[in-house]
């Protein structure tokens, strides 16, 4: 039998003005198990709290009901007071007789009656309360960053800066990501490599940062503060510790016809390669799909020329298992494939290119050493047409439903740079809307038209037809002139939509992190928790969460790092004790609860039970990880047998409230 104390607050006249608090205290004092019931001016004040503390000691209370303002206001205050008097804080319930009673009613009799009923409901609930103890779990003080683009790099640097170890897993042979392929960056036009490579070097040199390049995440288990991750280090057939990055092997390799992915296949590399000069780690990698030695066993040139003896044809994939307290996803994006849009003739003409290919054509380290030349004949293009929104803002059948966000700005950059370097070139940009919300963005776009004379045309290109003379006939509408244009262009550049990297979906499954229909990771809250995944301990950095430009990516990367640091700085995590728990004797292991859990908090264990006849039996039962569960209760309703219940909001507690209200 509980011993319950009821404390009715006047809140000055806020409550006492419309609720007869004395009558409430008196009526509730007659409820079963209530041993004391008093009213007071301000319960939340120091002396009000002391009143509660004294009553807990004097009456040996096992439960407390405070009739006052909203629990969202002072539930914690009263819980702390109870704890100070030696009562479990979760034995306190609040009846909200201010916001949900005195403030909305004028009639005193009516409001008083309602306050009594709300008090009764709280008493009925507290009758069934049980002391709850918040669990604790240790935090492993190391973070994992998945993806080594600018997002991952910035997050890793910021975490390391706070003194925590960070591992970066990057699937390519080098970190750097998409930004390494860019020429200049908008709106300031600094060179991408100049601002990125120092950060890459910093990562390599920072003692707290460990880079797993050419590696992928194979499996993830555990929970916030305590993840265990299997990392597959793919065989690169070069001993990273020995290779000096001299590059001799990449010059001598006889296999010269490997499409160079760094230049998007616009030139070739060798079978053993270093993606680019500033690669980090600067270590050669052998492409097993093309290496003659690995395929036929005959060649071995690279091994012969390597003075460091770093080549190892017998290398195999290696799995390392490491523990982390937090995981940051920074898997980035890719441009979509545009060959499905027949009307733009991407597959038909070499001179229809994507914007990322255009970046390579204008980059000094690119296939043309930075000279803008047509891929088909190597001639300088005099008329260039840029097409916006290729695959963005479409119906799901036609492409991506979202705006890819970065295309308007980089196209303005491309147009501007082209006009600056080659003033004899006519540049047309076909747009639906020009979207430039960002600091100095609209000014930048205006400069493209006002200072550089780029022709912006409101309208869309309907068709690109390659002609016999090598030009491309661009048929488009000009919506403002209300006419149809035909432009004979030398080069057509498509601003392809961007999409999350393909590796994100399987990774999300491993992390039990949720994704939207476009495979972007979802945030814990779209406004208030934008860099956290709903799964505790998983954080989001960069374009894996949605299309982003570089400044935005870097700020999000820093924000994610701050969240990680906040987590790793703790020695132990205190869990919310109002979490789900499963009655193993009732659970039949059907897995429905795990299907609705947004946090992956429910796992199934094979547990041995002693049956009434003393025989032992192994049964599959649900097990809730209290460190991961957030206490939403979705599982409790899915469970038909009622094996799954929620501490603090149990089936019986809520039904007791219902009963008290309806009586």
């Amino acid at each position: 039998m509980q011993r319950i104390g009821v404390f009715v607050c006047h809140c000055g006249t806020n409550i006492a003005g419309t609720v007869d608090v004395k009558a409430v205290a008196e009526a509730l004092g007659r409820e079963p198990s209530v041993v004391t019931s008093v009213d007071y001016q301000y319960m939340c004040s120091e002396s009000g709290q002391n009143l509660i503390k004294d009553a807990i000691r004097d009456y040996k209370l096992t439960g407390v009901v405070v009739c006052s303002c909203s629990p969202r206001m002072h539930e914690n205050t009263f819980r702390k007071a109870a704890a100070a008097a030696g009562l479990n804080p979760y034995m306190v319930e609040i009846a909200n007789i201010r916001e949900q009673c005195s403030w909305i009613h004028k009639d005193v009799a009516e409001a008083t009656e309602k306050a009594i009923i709300l008090g009764r409901a709280a008493i009925a609930k507290v009758q069934l309360n049980a002391p709850l103890v918040a669990g604790e779990s240790p935090v492993i003080k190391r973070a994992l960053v998945i993806g080594g683009g600018i997002a991952g790099i910035q997050t890793a640097l910021d975490i390391a800066d706070a003194g925590f170890e960070v591992d970066i897993v990057e699937k390519q042979p080098t970190i750097g990501g998409k930004m390494t392929q860019l020429d200049k960056t908008f709106p300031t036009l600094d060179c991408a490599a100049c601002i990125l490579t120092p950060k890459m070097v910093e990562c390599a040199q920072n003692e707290l940062i460990n880079i797993y390049s050419y590696s992928e995440v194979d499996a993830v288990s555990g929970f916030v503060g305590n993840f265990s991750v299997k990392i597959r280090k793919k065989a690169r057939y070069v001993d990273e510790t020995k290779c000096t990055g001299c590059g001799l092997c990449t010059e001598k390799c006889p296999q010269k016809k490997v499409p160079n992915e760094f230049n998007l296949g616009m030139d070739n590399r060798r079978a053993v390669y270093i993606p680019f000069a500033q690669a980090v780690p600067k270590v050669a990698t052998i492409d097993a799909d093309y290496c003659t030695m690995l395929k036929t066993g005959k060649c071995g040139v690279c091994s012969k020329v390597c003075t460091a003896g770093a080549i190892n044809y017998k290398q195999t994939d290696e799995i390392v298992e490491r523990q982390y307290g937090a995981i940051v996803v920074a898997t980035g994006f890719n441009p979509i494939k545009v060959d499905k849009y027949d009307e733009y003739a991407y597959g038909q003409s070499k001179d229809v290119i994507t914007s990322l290919e255009f970046e390579r054509l204008t980059n000094a380290a690119g296939p043309t050493s930075g000279k803008l030349l047509r891929p088909s004949d190597g001639k300088h293009p005099h008329k260039i047409v840029f097409i916006q929104c290729v695959g963005s803002r479409c119906t799901p059948e036609k492409g991506k439903s979202y705006c890819s966000k970065i295309c308007c700005m980089y196209t303005a950059k491309h147009a501007m740079l082209t006009r600056e370097k080659y003033p004899d070139t006519e540049v047309y940009v076909f747009y639906i809307d020009v979207r430039t919300p960002g600091k100095n963005f609209d000014e930048f776009y205006r400069r493209a038209t006002e200072e550089y004379g780029v022709h912006y045309i409101k309208g869309m290109v309907g068709k690109v037809s390659p002609k016999a003379d090598g030009t491309l006939e661009v048929q488009a509408s000009d919506l403002i002139m209300n006419e149809q244009l035909r432009i004979d262009a030398d080069l057509v550049v498509l601003a392809a939509a961007i999409e999350p990297d393909k590796s994100a979906r399987p990774l999300a499954t491993m992390l039990t992190a949720s994704m939207d229909t476009n495979d972007f990771f979802t945030e814990a809250h779209p406004k208030l928790r934008p860099v956290e995944s709903p799964t505790a301990g998983i954080f989001l950095s960069g374009a894996c969460q949605g299309p982003k430009d570089i400044p935005e990516t870097v700020s999000q990367a820093g924000a994610a790092a701050a969240k990680v640091i906040g987590l790793l700085a703790k020695n132990k995590l205190t869990c919310n004790p109002c979490v789900a728990h499963s009655d193993e004797l009732l659970c039949n292991g059907c897995s429905q609860c795990a299907n609705v859990c947004p946090y992956g908090a429910i796992t199934y264990i094979e547990k041995e039970f002693v049956m009434p006849d003393r025989s032992k039996k192994i049964r599959r039962v649900a097990s809730v990880n209290p460190a991961v569960c957030q206490g939403c209760g979705a599982c409790t309703v899915t469970c038909p047998s009622g094996a799954m219940d929620l501490h603090g909001f149990s089936n019986r507690q809520i039904m007791a409230e219902v009963d008290a209200i309806c009586k």
């Binding site: 009732l586 292991g589 059907c590 299907n595 609705v596 199934y604 019986r652």
Partner: protein, 326 residues
């Protein structure tokens, strides 16, 4: 058919592939075929039966046998509708698929003995199928009855004759039946006024004697302990003391199996009070199909059922308030 099945069962039993066989044998009367577990060739020889009275869904018996010994190899004969329940039980980890050898048996619909009796045929000892007729064996000699007149209601509105899981097939595999008409009665009820519906269901549910046969036979009712039997649940009730409790039990039971019910119709078959309980389950199935897209529980063992999944643009609950017929 029965002989082929018997032969195959004995083969698999004697070559050690399986240790138990789940099928049917006569119960109290020779027309109430009951699920049965056989462990020897002799038992099969003398008792195993498969005929047009074998309507009972045996999938749940696999679960029961595996509960006794999860590693014992079991042979089970499943009719098409039983395979859906079997899949659903597998999906919910109630059956270890690897330890079961499934022989799918084709089915053309089962006979309803009540209908045969109602046609004045007495002393029934057996049944045979013959095209669009059933030949009913009786102590007074053979009688014939048109298939349409003796077919069980649920088989007349059969949703699928397709075997969704099997290791081998005896007989013919069929297809999913389009336009089975199984929702016709639900639609008819929906078209009634609220008063008429209330009247209808009061009339039906007030007959409930809480024998729990529906719950015991249901392949989706697999709880260790039912909420209605658990004093700790706060809603336990042994017998319905009030009309509310009659409603409560059946609403909650239907809700608990919603999305998981394969529409096998066993609940209505076993109800001694002849309450059309399947109309509750079918209402959920019809709503699910209409609101969230066609879904058949037990089609496979992978997909999440409609109540444990969602789409961002699901219908709002107000659709219920906005549709016709208050």
């Amino acid at each position: 058919m029965q002989e082929v099945m018997k032969k195959r069962a004995i083969e698999l039993l004697s070559d050690g592939t399986v240790a138990k066989v789940i099928g049917w044998m006569p119960g109290e009367f020779s027309y109430d075929m009951t699920p049965a577990v056989f462990t020897t060739a002799e038992e099969i020889e003398s008792n195993f039966v498969y005929n047009d009275f074998c309507g009972a869904n045996v999938s749940k018996y696999v679960m029961r046998e595996q509960k006794k010994a999860s590693d014992a190899k079991i042979l089970v004969f499943l009719k098409p509708c039983d395979t859906y329940s079997f899949n659903q039980l597998t999906a919910e980890h109630k059956i270890v698929r690897e330890n079961v050898y499934v022989i799918g048996v084709g089915c053309d619909g089962m006979a309803d003995v009540e209908k045969i009796k109602a046609a004045g045929i007495e002393g029934i000892t057996g049944i045979e199928s013959d095209g669009d007729k059933f030949i009913v064996k009786t102590v007074y000699g053979d009688e014939t009855i048109a298939r349409a007149d003796a077919l069980a209601e649920r088989c007349a509105a059969c949703k699928s004759k397709k075997l969704t899981v099997y290791d081998e097939i005896i007989g013919e595999d069929g297809e999913v039946v389009e336009n089975s008409g199984r929702f016709d009665l639900v639609a008819k009820l929906e078209a009634m006024s609220a008063d008429e519906r209330f009247e209808f269901w009061r009339n039906e549910l007030s007959r409930c004697i809480r024998c729990n046969a529906c719950r015991n036979v249901c392949p989706a009712c697999t709880c260790e302990q039912c909420v209605f039997d658990n004093p700790k649940s706060g809603i336990d009730q042994k017998a319905a003391a009030d009309s509310f409790e009659e409603n409560m039990f059946h609403i909650i039971r239907a809700f608990h199996v919603a999305g998981r019910c394969t529409d096998c119709g066993e609940c209505s078959r076993v109800c001694p009070q002849h309450i059309p309980l399947h109309l509750l389950n079918r209402k959920f199935i019809k709503d699910i199909n209409e609101l969230y897209g066609d879904y058949q529980a037990g089609d496979d063992t992978e997909s999440k059922h409609p109540l444990t999944s969602f789409t961002y643009d699901d219908a709002e609950p107000s659709v219920i308030h906005e549709r016709g017929n208050e």
